[in-house]
Symmetry: C2
Subunit: 103 residues, 2 copies
Amino acid sequence: MAEQAEEKTKADENVVFIGSKPFMNYVTGVVMQFTKQGSSEVVIKARGKFISRAVDVAEVTTKRFLEDQNVEVKDIKIDSEEFENKEGKKVNVSTIEIMLGKK
Amino acid sequence: MAEQAEEKTKADENVVFIGSKPFMNYVTGVVMQFTKQGSSEVVIKARGKFISRAVDVAEVTTKRFLEDQNVEVKDIKIDSEEFENKEGKKVNVSTIEIMLGKK
Protein backbone atom coordinates (compact mmCIF):
# COMPACT_ATOMS: atom_id res chain seq x y z
CA MET A 1 0.00 0.00 0.00
CA ALA A 2 2.81 2.37 0.87
CA GLU A 3 4.39 1.67 -2.50
CA GLN A 4 1.11 2.38 -4.30
CA ALA A 5 0.72 5.69 -2.52
CA GLU A 6 4.27 6.63 -3.44
CA GLU A 7 3.70 5.77 -7.10
CA LYS A 8 0.55 7.85 -7.17
CA THR A 9 2.35 10.89 -5.82
CA LYS A 10 5.19 10.45 -8.27
CA ALA A 11 2.78 10.10 -11.19
CA ASP A 12 1.19 13.38 -10.15
CA GLU A 13 4.53 15.08 -10.53
CA ASN A 14 4.94 13.78 -14.11
CA VAL A 15 7.40 11.14 -12.98
CA VAL A 16 7.18 7.51 -14.12
CA PHE A 17 9.27 5.22 -11.94
CA ILE A 18 10.32 2.01 -13.72
CA GLY A 19 10.05 -1.31 -11.86
CA SER A 20 9.09 -4.91 -12.54
CA LYS A 21 5.51 -4.44 -13.75
CA PRO A 22 4.68 -5.41 -17.37
CA PHE A 23 6.62 -3.25 -19.82
CA MET A 24 3.56 -1.77 -21.52
CA ASN A 25 2.26 -0.41 -18.20
CA TYR A 26 5.11 2.07 -18.18
CA VAL A 27 4.79 2.92 -21.85
CA THR A 28 1.08 3.59 -21.37
CA GLY A 29 1.84 5.63 -18.27
CA VAL A 30 4.19 7.93 -20.16
CA VAL A 31 1.93 8.22 -23.22
CA MET A 32 -1.09 9.07 -21.04
CA GLN A 33 0.84 11.80 -19.24
CA PHE A 34 1.35 13.57 -22.54
CA THR A 35 -1.97 12.81 -24.22
CA LYS A 36 -4.52 12.77 -21.36
CA GLN A 37 -2.88 14.87 -18.64
CA GLY A 38 -1.55 17.37 -21.15
CA SER A 39 1.91 17.35 -19.60
CA SER A 40 4.67 19.09 -21.54
CA GLU A 41 7.36 17.13 -19.71
CA VAL A 42 7.63 13.63 -18.22
CA VAL A 43 10.60 12.21 -16.31
CA ILE A 44 11.35 8.48 -16.49
CA LYS A 45 13.33 7.33 -13.46
CA ALA A 46 14.97 3.99 -12.66
CA ARG A 47 17.61 2.40 -10.46
CA GLY A 48 19.99 -0.55 -10.89
CA LYS A 49 18.94 -3.24 -13.34
CA PHE A 50 15.80 -1.31 -14.30
CA ILE A 51 17.92 1.35 -16.03
CA SER A 52 17.98 -0.66 -19.28
CA ARG A 53 14.20 -0.84 -19.12
CA ALA A 54 13.88 2.90 -18.59
CA VAL A 55 15.83 3.44 -21.83
CA ASP A 56 13.53 0.96 -23.61
CA VAL A 57 10.46 2.83 -22.34
CA ALA A 58 11.89 6.17 -23.51
CA GLU A 59 12.74 4.77 -26.96
CA VAL A 60 9.41 3.02 -27.50
CA THR A 61 7.31 5.96 -26.32
CA THR A 62 9.14 8.63 -28.30
CA LYS A 63 9.69 6.62 -31.51
CA ARG A 64 6.55 4.48 -31.72
CA PHE A 65 3.75 6.10 -29.70
CA LEU A 66 4.43 9.80 -29.45
CA GLU A 67 5.96 10.60 -32.83
CA ASP A 68 2.90 12.67 -33.76
CA GLN A 69 3.10 14.51 -30.44
CA ASN A 70 6.62 15.80 -31.19
CA VAL A 71 8.00 14.36 -27.98
CA GLU A 72 11.76 13.87 -27.72
CA VAL A 73 14.47 13.11 -25.17
CA LYS A 74 15.47 16.47 -23.69
CA ASP A 75 18.08 15.44 -21.15
CA ILE A 76 19.53 12.36 -19.45
CA LYS A 77 21.18 12.35 -16.02
CA ILE A 78 22.93 9.49 -14.25
CA ASP A 79 23.89 9.35 -10.60
CA SER A 80 24.47 6.96 -7.68
CA GLU A 81 22.57 6.38 -4.46
CA GLU A 82 23.87 4.72 -1.35
CA PHE A 83 21.58 2.42 0.60
CA GLU A 84 21.77 -0.34 3.20
CA ASN A 85 21.08 -3.86 1.95
CA LYS A 86 19.42 -6.62 3.99
CA GLU A 87 22.73 -7.47 5.65
CA GLY A 88 23.12 -3.86 6.81
CA LYS A 89 25.99 -3.26 4.39
CA LYS A 90 26.16 0.04 2.51
CA VAL A 91 26.01 -0.46 -1.24
CA ASN A 92 25.79 1.89 -4.19
CA VAL A 93 23.17 1.69 -6.90
CA SER A 94 23.21 3.66 -10.14
CA THR A 95 20.23 5.79 -11.13
CA ILE A 96 18.97 7.36 -14.35
CA GLU A 97 16.56 10.20 -15.11
CA ILE A 98 15.35 10.58 -18.69
CA MET A 99 13.55 13.85 -19.36
CA LEU A 100 11.03 13.71 -22.20
CA GLY A 101 9.43 16.89 -23.51
CA LYS A 102 7.70 18.52 -26.46
CA LYS A 103 9.99 19.68 -29.24
CA MET B 1 38.22 -13.97 -32.96
CA ALA B 2 36.15 -11.54 -35.00
CA GLU B 3 34.68 -10.13 -31.78
CA GLN B 4 38.14 -9.68 -30.29
CA ALA B 5 39.34 -7.82 -33.36
CA GLU B 6 36.31 -5.55 -33.22
CA GLU B 7 36.88 -4.78 -29.54
CA LYS B 8 40.52 -3.94 -30.24
CA THR B 9 39.57 -1.47 -32.97
CA LYS B 10 36.94 0.14 -30.78
CA ALA B 11 39.37 0.46 -27.86
CA ASP B 12 41.77 2.28 -30.18
CA GLU B 13 39.09 4.86 -30.85
CA ASN B 14 38.60 5.54 -27.12
CA VAL B 15 35.43 3.47 -27.04
CA VAL B 16 34.74 0.88 -24.35
CA PHE B 17 31.95 -1.50 -25.35
CA ILE B 18 30.20 -3.10 -22.37
CA GLY B 19 29.41 -6.83 -22.45
CA SER B 20 29.42 -9.81 -20.12
CA LYS B 21 33.07 -9.82 -19.04
CA PRO B 22 33.87 -9.20 -15.35
CA PHE B 23 32.75 -5.72 -14.29
CA MET B 24 36.20 -4.51 -13.28
CA ASN B 25 37.60 -5.26 -16.76
CA TYR B 26 35.53 -2.39 -18.12
CA VAL B 27 36.32 -0.07 -15.23
CA THR B 28 40.04 -0.75 -15.72
CA GLY B 29 39.64 -0.24 -19.46
CA VAL B 30 38.13 3.21 -18.99
CA VAL B 31 40.59 4.25 -16.28
CA MET B 32 43.58 3.14 -18.39
CA GLN B 33 42.34 5.13 -21.38
CA PHE B 34 42.57 8.29 -19.31
CA THR B 35 45.67 7.53 -17.25
CA LYS B 36 47.90 5.47 -19.59
CA GLN B 37 46.72 6.44 -23.07
CA GLY B 38 46.30 10.07 -22.12
CA SER B 39 42.85 10.28 -23.70
CA SER B 40 40.83 13.39 -22.98
CA GLU B 41 37.57 11.63 -23.86
CA VAL B 42 36.27 8.06 -23.59
CA VAL B 43 32.90 6.79 -24.81
CA ILE B 44 31.18 3.93 -22.99
CA LYS B 45 28.75 2.08 -25.28
CA ALA B 46 26.21 -0.65 -24.54
CA ARG B 47 23.10 -2.29 -25.94
CA GLY B 48 20.04 -3.92 -24.34
CA LYS B 49 20.46 -5.34 -20.85
CA PHE B 50 24.08 -4.13 -20.69
CA ILE B 51 22.90 -0.51 -20.54
CA SER B 52 22.51 -0.69 -16.73
CA ARG B 53 26.09 -1.96 -16.54
CA ALA B 54 27.36 0.88 -18.71
CA VAL B 55 25.87 3.36 -16.23
CA ASP B 56 27.52 1.45 -13.35
CA VAL B 57 30.89 1.62 -15.14
CA ALA B 58 30.49 5.37 -15.74
CA GLU B 59 29.54 6.01 -12.11
CA VAL B 60 32.30 3.87 -10.59
CA THR B 61 35.03 5.24 -12.86
CA THR B 62 34.14 8.92 -12.45
CA LYS B 63 33.31 8.83 -8.73
CA ARG B 64 35.73 6.27 -7.36
CA PHE B 65 38.71 5.94 -9.70
CA LEU B 66 39.07 9.15 -11.68
CA GLU B 67 38.06 11.78 -9.15
CA ASP B 68 41.61 13.14 -9.08
CA GLN B 69 41.68 13.21 -12.88
CA ASN B 70 38.72 15.61 -13.05
CA VAL B 71 36.77 13.29 -15.32
CA GLU B 72 33.03 13.78 -15.56
CA VAL B 73 30.03 12.69 -17.66
CA LYS B 74 29.90 15.12 -20.59
CA ASP B 75 26.93 13.78 -22.54
CA ILE B 76 24.58 10.80 -22.72
CA LYS B 77 22.77 9.65 -25.85
CA ILE B 78 20.19 6.89 -26.22
CA ASP B 79 18.97 5.36 -29.47
CA SER B 80 17.56 2.14 -30.96
CA GLU B 81 19.02 -0.35 -33.41
CA GLU B 82 17.10 -2.86 -35.48
CA PHE B 83 18.54 -6.31 -35.98
CA GLU B 84 17.41 -9.80 -37.01
CA ASN B 85 17.20 -12.36 -34.22
CA LYS B 86 17.91 -16.10 -34.62
CA GLU B 87 14.39 -16.69 -35.93
CA GLY B 88 14.93 -14.07 -38.64
CA LYS B 89 12.50 -11.66 -36.99
CA LYS B 90 13.36 -7.97 -36.87
CA VAL B 91 13.61 -6.68 -33.33
CA ASN B 92 14.69 -3.39 -31.79
CA VAL B 93 17.32 -3.01 -29.13
CA SER B 94 18.04 0.16 -27.17
CA THR B 95 21.55 1.59 -27.09
CA ILE B 96 23.41 4.06 -24.88
CA GLU B 97 26.55 6.15 -25.35
CA ILE B 98 28.04 7.80 -22.28
CA MET B 99 30.72 10.38 -23.07
CA LEU B 100 33.30 10.90 -20.32
CA GLY B 101 35.76 13.75 -20.51
CA LYS B 102 38.08 16.00 -18.56
CA LYS B 103 36.39 18.90 -16.79
